[in-house]
């Protein structure tokens, strides 16, 4: 009696193969990130050394120090303000709009589709008209200018996502609250918000990341005052030479906030995304 399965079906082998595949994939994805990270700690000699230096002999923060000394690091702060404020505004307005669409059937079926269709527009198509408009209003190179723009761009997405989450809420919860003594606004705040919390956070992360990663509008609509980190990075690509150390350090600075946001909200993110996924 020989019940041994063929080689590639043995449990141990299967497991080993799975791990090997997983490790290979992870390394493939993570290596560029690692390389960026490691460059930011290297000395200029190490950056251009051949054969490449896989890991620096000593960790030194000179590349970062120079960013802070020159004031370049403030661009990360700018990005943070722009993305953060526009996300908060878009989330609040968008959720209210979504609630209205769902509960009061505002605009019937069509308004919701029209709203999301705004999101399909290629940003480049409106970059120039917006620029002219902003010159006219004197909004170029200002916080509020970019905040308004990012908010406007995120709103359709927020409304669409939140509409899905709110549609899934049982109506009786809200009705019961209305009978028990809440106003509509209180219902929104005390019943709807807590119930869609996961979806709210998931949507907020994507909204934040969209604004955070924006390059196009920031490039067109800023000059000197509120340059974002994405634009700042491009300043290091010079005609004569590229400042790899600065590029790497700035990119790392730009990655850290997103990394933390996602790490902290991971629980909600996964739940929020799958909530939408189940609904389809």
């Amino acid at each position: 009696m020989n019940a041994r399965p063929p080689f590639f079906r043995r449990p141990g082998i299967v497991l080993a193969l799975r791990y090997a595949a997983a490790v290979a994939l992870t390394v493939g994805f993570l290596f560029p990130v690692y390389w960026l990270f490691i460059i930011s700690f290297k000395t200029p000699e190490e950056i251009f050394a051949f054969p490449p230096v896989w890991y620096p002999k000593s960790v030194q923060f000179a590349n970062y120090a120079v960013l802070f000394k020159d004031g370049d690091a403030v661009t990360v702060w700018n990005s943070l303000v722009l993305a953060g404020v526009s996300t908060v505004i878009a989330m609040v307005l968008g959720t209210i709009c979504a609630y209205s669409l769902v509960r009061f059937k505002t605009g019937g079926e069509n308004l919701a589709v029209w709203i999301i269709s705004q999101r399909m527009m290629p940003p480049i198509a409106i970059a120039f008209p917006v620029f002219l408009l902003y010159v006219f209003f004197g909004w170029v190179d200002s916080y509020h200018g970019l905040i308004i723009l990012y908010t406007a761009f995120s709103l359709p997405y927020v409304i669409w996502m939140m509409r899905g989450y709110i549609e899934d809420l049982p109506l009786e919860l809200e009705e019961s609250a209305l009978v028990d003594g809440l106003t509509r606004w209180e219902v929104l705040w005390k019943v709807v918000f807590p119930m869609v919390r996961s979806g709210l956070f998931a949507t907020a992360v994507f909204t934040f990341v969209f604004a955070w990663n924006d390059f196009l509008f920031a490039l067109v609509l800023t000059r000197t005052e509120v340059i974002t980190y994405t634009v700042q990075v491009t300043h290091y690509f010079g005609g004569q030479s590229n400042f790899w150390a600065k590029i790497a350090a700035m990119s790392v600075l730009g990655t850290i906030p997103v990394f933390f946001t996602v790490a902290v909200l991971q629980r909600y993110l996964v739940r929020g995304i799958s909530m939408g996924a189940v609904k389809g």
């Binding site: 049982p170 009786e172 919860l173 009705e175 019961s176 609250a177 209305l178 009978v179 028990d180 003594g181 809440l182 106003t183 209180e186 019943v191 807590p194 119930m195």
Partner: protein, 363 residues
């Protein structure tokens, strides 16, 4: 004084006329049950009373005040929903306290009132739990608790027991009845279940297609139905309906079923009766009994062949043919052994209901 007064209420949704001209008064402290088949407008009526829907016509008065455009929170009502509507992220205590907090009740008073309600419902040990850690029956108790802490003028229930299994439903039914006796609050209770309606109600309001078919005490409706619909809706098993004819017999009237059966009607005056008039004879399964030696007044003896026997324990439902339709009778379980048997039955014609086949109204 009437706690609730509804006058000529209308409500339609796009295309559907859900409530069409309802007049209703509910006296203070009364337990009123709105009953009717699914889709007849019970929930719509209740939700309009609660202010969750706005009426298209007519008025609603609560405690003498017209509330048509008053927000739900200002109507002094409490409502229990079919699927409990508990907040999943709050524990039982907070769920019950929700309405009190919404009205800025002092913390000390919230404590006492929540504990008293929890005591009444036997859910004190559950106060710290989350709704998902409760069984269906416990959840419904919490939902009821949330309503009773409010001391509202009017309690509304929309099919609160229909998500529970049969045994729990019986238990909760008695619980609700007991609560009503203890609290003495005016309650309006919606159900499609006629047994719930019969057992709970001081007064039943039977709805059909958005209108009141008949309203009255449970016994009123059971013994003196106004229409065939009411007669058929209340009672289990359902009332039997036999196509028949009226005939003069002796000094009175009789019901002729087919060519050979004639059942004299006791104490019937001539009003609306005429020889040869087509009618439907309505007779409840409970008013057909196994004949014994004695002859009871108003009972007509009939020899039948049993076609079907359905034992239920102490009682047995049997089926036999009469006038071309199957008739169900509820007998003692030892009255009949098996199908095919020939037995004598007594039909209690005192309880017979005569229905006009055209209008479906009881004559």
């Amino acid at each position: 004084m009437a706690d609730l007064k509804i006058t000529n209420l209308h409500k339609h949704y796009s295309g559907v006329q859900a409530v069409r001209g309802i007049d209703l008064e509910v006296a203070s402290g009364e337990f009123t049950v709105l009953v009717g088949p699914s889709g007849c407008g019970k929930s719509t009526l209740l939700r309009t009373i609660a202010g969750l829907e706005t009426p298209d016509g007519g008025t609603i008065e609560i405690g003498g005040r017209v509330v048509n455009y008053v927000r739900p929170r200002d109507r002094d009502i409490a409502m229990v929903f079919q699927n409990y509507a508990l907040y999943p992220y709050m524990n039982v205590f907070e769920n019950i306290a929700f309405g009190l907090r919404a009205r800025k009740t002092p913390q000390a008073e919230i404590e006492t009132r929540v504990r008293r309600a929890a005591d009444m419902l036997g859910i004190t040990p559950l106060l710290e739990r989350l709704p998902r850690q409760l069984s269906g029956g416990q959840r419904q108790r919490v939902a009821i608790g949330r309503a009773i802490v409010r001391n509202a003028r009017l309690f509304l229930f929309d099919e609160p027991l229909s998500n529970l299994d049969a045994q729990l439903r019986d238990e909760m039914r008695s619980e609700i009845k007991r609560l009503h006796q203890e609290l003495g609050t005016t309650m309006i209770y919606v159900t499609h279940d006629q047994i719930e309606a019969m057992t709970l109600a001081d007064r039943i309001v039977l709805l059909r297609d958005g209108k009141i078919e008949q309203a009255g005490t449970p016994l009123d409706l059971y013994e003196r139905p106004a229409t065939r619909f009411v007669a058929g809706f209340l009672g289990s098993p359902q009332m039997n309906f036999v196509p028949a004819q009226l005939a003069q017999s002796g000094g009175g009237w009789a019901v002729k079923v087919g060519s050979d059966v004639s059942l004299p009607l006791p104490a019937r005056q001539g009003d609306g009766l005429s020889d040869g008039r087509a009618i439907v004879l309505g007779l409840r399964p409970q008013y057909v009994t196994r004949a014994n030696g004695s002859h009871r007044p108003g009972h007509e003896r009939l020899g039948v062949t049993v076609e079907l026997v359905q034992p239920t324990g102490s009682r047995a439902y049997i089926t036999f043919p009469l006038g071309g339709v199957p008739i169900v009778a509820e007998l003692e379980s030892h009255d009949v052994q098996r199908p095919g048997e020939r037995i004598d039955l007594d039909l209690d014609m005192n309880r017979a209901v005569l229905i006009d086949p055209e209008s479906n109204r009881v004559i």
